[in-house]
């Protein structure tokens, strides 16, 4: 008898659908069917059982991999962290918060830099939030109240397949009984995307000039005149869109990489936040980042409560944490050759970073922790396989609106394969042992009095 497991969370994107039904084989080892998910989500489950390694693989002098035990891999990793002057631990887009908390403990003990995928994704949103705040809401609020939806530089039709149907455009909520019919949709994007297909208004902003367009929106909101064309958009179109936004009962701006990764980056998000602030003097408006991976919001949450910073944490001073993206961000560290060891966890830096930082990181030890082989594992010195969160390992993840979702596992990880959390806890123990050995070797060495390691 196959077994149906309900209320399963989807370990793909930041929409975090938690209504999947997964059918597993009688012995609980095989995933037979995934219902309710989008095609990408179902692939995550179906791919779970293929291409798996059950032992760590260490690069040999001849370039091949050799399987080693977990104890050996943990010892190797602890020593790399211990011996490096400035190791970098990066990734965490695809693991649970328990793993992130355990990794932070390791990073703090090792004196490492701790960073997550936001660094090359929505990190610019964090910078904007630092400077200007974040008037937002949960996705259920959008569903129940919103009558105007703006997608700016985001294409959920492809990147977040169920976003529009679960939360924003189509659902009928408490005050939104007419669903799609009761909502106005504005899409702002240089391309005529599939999301733009469902829009009432599509403004084709000139690529890289979103900031100028936001400035025009804000200027119109305050009743001033603007030039006839701004960022490729006609004045009348801007005035029409602003009018709709001011007359909304409840509006939400969803924005994506179009703002975060075109010229100005954080400033595009920052001025979008300013516009949201402005609109709240007239009616109710909220703004939300379209976070990518299912738990990329997680490290921002966990490390904020642990250190007060969501990403780019320089813990190398060991007594105080420092954060300054541009300096302590992974790609910048790699480009400037500031780090001398790299641990890639729950992501694929080899695929996602530009080639130059990858080359520079590769000059030093590179360890990849991931359930599956990927580009990063294949160029690593060491690959440590772990269980798949959301499939084999349960845990808490944070949806794009910062709502925690409790994920279940539907099958067990392959025998002997640990979770990220267990792995990091064991690395932590080994690190402490190495430090104790060091201390024993130099018992008389007192810490020199010095000025404070500052920011």
């Amino acid at each position: 008898m196959a077994k149906k497991i309900e209320n399963v969370g989807c370990p793909f994107c930041g929409v975090c659908c938690d209504d999947l039904v997964v059918t597993v084989s009688d012995d609980g080892k095989k995933i037979l069917e995934v219902e309710n998910s989008c095609i990408i989500g179902s692939t995550v489950f179906h791919r779970a059982m293929s291409e798996r390694h059950t032992l760590p693989r260490l690069r040999q002098p001849d370039g091949t991999f050799k399987e080693i035990s977990y104890d050996e891999a943990i010892d190797y990793t602890a020593k790399v962290l211990h011996n490096a002057k400035k190791p970098l631990i990066y990734g965490f887009g695809s693991t649970n918060c328990e793993g992130m908390a355990a990794a932070a403990k390791v990073a703090e003990q090792a004196g490492a830099v701790l960073d997550n995928c936001a660094s090359i994704c929505h990190g610019s949103s964090f910078l904007a939030i630092f400077d200007n705040g974040y008037p937002s809401c949960t996705l259920g609020e959008v569903k129940n109240r919103a009558d105007v939806i703006v997608y700016w530089g985001a294409n959920p039709a492809h990147a977040h397949p169920r976003h529009m149907s679960r939360y924003s455009i189509f659902p009928r909520g408490f005050f939104t009984g007419k669903g799609h019919k009761g909502r106005k949709i504005i899409v702002i994007d240089p391309r005529h995307t599939d999301t733009a297909q469902v829009a009432d208004i599509h403004l084709q902003v000139q690529q890289g000039h979103d900031y100028d367009l936001f400035d025009a929106f804000r200027t119109v909101v305050r009743g001033h005149d603007i030039p006839d064309v701004v960022a490729g958009v006609k004045k009348e179109q801007i005035i029409e869109a602003v009018d709709i936004m001011k007359k909304a009962r409840f509006g939400t701006i969803f924005y994506g990489m179009g703002l975060c990764h075109s010229d100005g980056r954080n400033h595009n998000v920052d001025i979008a936040i300013s516009l949201t602030r402005d609109l709240n003097d007239f009616t109710k408006w909220t703004i939300m980042a379209m976070r990518g991976h299912y738990n990329i919001t997680g490290p921002g949450a966990v490390w904020s409560w642990q250190y007060g910073f969501p990403y780019c944490l320089d813990l190398t001073k060991r007594d105080i944490a420092h954060m300054n993206p541009g300096e302590t961000s992974s790609v910048d560290l790699a480009m400037r050759e500031e780090v001398d060891a790299f641990i890639n966890i729950g992501t694929d830096a080899a695929a996602h970073f530009p080639i130059e930082p990858v080359k520079r990181l590769r000059k030093h030890p590179w360890i990849t922790i991931d359930p599956h082989p990927n580009m990063a594992t294949e160029i690593s010195d060491l690959h440590i396989p772990v269980g798949i969160v959301g499939v084999e390992v349960p845990g808490i993840v944070y949806r794009m609106d910062n709502v925690p979702i409790q994920y279940r596992n539907v099958i067990e990880p392959p025998e002997g394969v640990p979770s990220d959390e267990e792995l990091f806890e064991r690395i932590y123990e080994r690190l402490c042992e190495l430090e104790a050995e060091d201390a024993a070797r130099e018992p008389a060495k007192a810490a020199p009095e010095g000025a404070r390691a500052g920011e």
Partner: protein, 568 residues
């Protein structure tokens, strides 16, 4: 766990009415025992020192989503402001400290129990993750009810029994502790950018007034017989002239008496009353109305309050009162975060600077102190700073100093730019009262524990209670002439014993005993209608499935459950 005897200290235990007697306190296996029950205890010499139960905080924002946004969006709150690491984990932040710093600093002040002031139910797994990472101190968290759609609908129809069944379900679903109400109705109105500015303003689309929400939740609370009372942040908070709204809200409690088996006497706890004691009708003529407020509180035994003292620091305001934070950001133009939470609540966060150079700030400072100094019953008037709203909790020792020393108040007032205007608009300068160590013990442990309904476990030193003992280097027979010594002594206790383990010595954390999550499990009769309503709302209106909404057992850390049987 072994035995311990704390010898020769001056013991202050208001729950037993012990007023500074020289006595020994025995500890065995994590509990307080008669000293005669000890066989070979280790000794702590507390001669010349004040011995109290571990501190109990009735209201503090320490864990959860809005606290964390406060941390996240204020990197400048860490820059050059964080102390160097000296415990297991780094301690980052000033006004919104990291979870680790929160636990360590409370312990250094001799506190053992902190009640998180507002938990958005949808975010309960987040709250419990942060509780896990807050070392040493025991935590409880109060889910917010005052703008919850279930609550509004049941109370609109006078369905107290249904509301009680729902409340019991939600307390269990979130592993929550008590009924918290923030700007009843007003936060729901904020969903449309609106507010309920008085208790009679109807809530848009819900056909109910804040007054009815307040009385309905008092009735629900007493129907269930919960340990704590309904815990209210009232309407129109933070605005000139709002003492009227506070009095109106107090009056709603008239005629209700506490029904519970936990030793609690009040039916309404009104929190951070400093923010609700303003006269005048604008920021120009705002003044103190603490006399009116405290005359009422002194005359009504079924109310407790905490003060919400302004500490004159740069801090971070955060509350489920969404419209208030929106208003605040229009006053100071600083960054503003907001999160509206579907069907339940909202939250706003804005940095704020309480400056001795700003008249409103110094008037607020005076108002908080006046509340305490006018109180006739300090078992019903508690020290808080509504952390971090009026100031960070690490300033409690400074608040204690101000309350215990007229000279300390005068010293602080000398720094005020608008001293004359502050004196004109308040009565602080006419008050000579200086509180005693016994009264401080009432305000910081015995009183809050009683009001929270946990005075059988926390807040006192009677045999059988948890062995939580704070020892301060203050000799009641020879109090220091320099009031700063009072602040120092309360900032870094000489000893904290938590669960029988010496946790702090000479102001430094020396051990990290396991912390607990305290929650309330209420047994109610089966209620098919409420079950159906829950099913419907989750099916149609929530964005999360009901099975995933309820906290998984694995995500609850070291629980201590308080059971209530309302079916009896």
């Amino acid at each position: 766990m072994g035995e311990l005897i704390i010898k020769n200290g001056f013991v202050f235990d208001p729950l037993q009415e012990i007023k500074g007697d020289r006595m020994d306190i025995g500890i065995k296996d994590g509990r307080i025992v008669e000293t005669s029950a000890l066989s070979s205890p280790k000794t702590i010499d507390a001669a010349g020192m004040a011995v109290m139960a571990g501190g109990v905080d009735v209201h503090s924002h320490v864990v959860g989503p809005k606290v964390n946004v406060g941390r996240l969006f204020r990197p400048e709150d860490k820059l050059f402001k964080s102390p160097l690491k000296r415990c297991d984990r780094m301690e980052m932040g000033f006004s919104v400290p990291s979870t680790f710093k929160t636990g360590y600093d409370y312990a250094r002040m001799g506190y053992v129990f902190v009640n998180e002031a507002a938990m958005p139910p949808l975010h309960s797994p987040h709250v419990h993750e942060e509780i896990r990472d807050t070392p040493i101190i025991d935590n409880a968290a109060m889910p917010v009810f005052g703008n919850n759609w279930f609550t509004l609908e049941y109370l609109k129809n006078n369905e107290i029994e249904n509301n009680a069944a729902y409340t019991a379900w939600l307390l269990r679903a979130t592993r929550g502790f008590a009924i918290k109400v923030v700007n009843p109705g007003g936060t729901e109105a904020w969903g449309w950018g609106l507010n309920c500015e008085s208790i009679h303003d109807p809530v848009p689309y819900f056909d109910i007034t804040p007054a009815k929400i307040i009385t309905g939740l008092i009735e629900t609370n007493e129907f269930l017989g919960l340990p704590h009372s309904m815990h209210l942040h009232c309407n129109n908070l933070g605005n000139p002239g709002n003492y009227v709204d506070a009095l109106d809200s107090f009056k709603l409690a008239e005629g209700y008496t506490a029904k519970n088996t936990f030793g609690r006497d009040q039916v309404l706890h009104m929190t951070h009353v400093q923010f609700s004691s303003y006269g005048g009708d604008s920021w120009r003529n705002i003044d103190s109305q603490t006399k009116e407020i405290m005359d009422y509180v002194n005359a009504h035994d079924n109310i407790t309050i905490d003060i919400g003292q302004v500490t004159l620091d740069e801090t971070t305001t955060m509350t489920a009162d969404g419209p208030f934070e929106h208003h605040l950001r229009s006053l100071n133009n600083l960054k503003w975060a907001n999160t509206d939470v579907e069907l339940e609540t909202a939250a706003g966060i804005v940095p704020y600077i309480y400056s001795p150079n700003v008249k409103v700030s110094t008037i607020q400072w005076a108002i908080g102190l006046e509340l305490a100094l006018y109180s006739n019953d300090l078992m019903r008037t508690f020290i808080t700073t509504d952390h971090p709203n009026a100031g960070p909790f690490i300033r409690y020792p400074r608040v204690i100093k101000w309350l215990m020393s007229r000279a300390a108040r005068d010293e602080t007032m000398k720094t005020f730019k608008w001293l004359d205007r502050t004196i004109e608009s308040t009565t602080i300068d006419s008050i000579d009262r200086e509180l005693t160590l016994y009264e401080i013990a009432q305000m910081t442990r015995a009183g809050p524990a009683k009001a929270l309904g946990i005075s059988n476990i926390y807040g006192g030193l009677a045999p059988g209670m948890d062995a939580n003992v704070a020892i301060y280097a203050l000799n009641p027979e020879d109090m220091p002439s320099d009031p700063d010594m009072i602040e120092n002594a309360f900032s870094r206790c000489a000893y904290l014993v938590k669960d029988g383990i010496v946790t702090v010595r000479d102001g430094e954390v020396v051990a990290e005993p396991a912390k607990r999550t305290v929650w309330v499990d209420v047994k109610v009769p089966e209620n098919a209608q409420v079950q159906r309503d829950i099913y419907e709302h989750f099916l149609r209106h929530y964005s999360v499935g009901v099975e995933n909404y309820q906290l998984f057992e694995a995500n609850l850390h070291n629980p201590r459950v308080i059971e209530v049987d309302s079916t009896q």
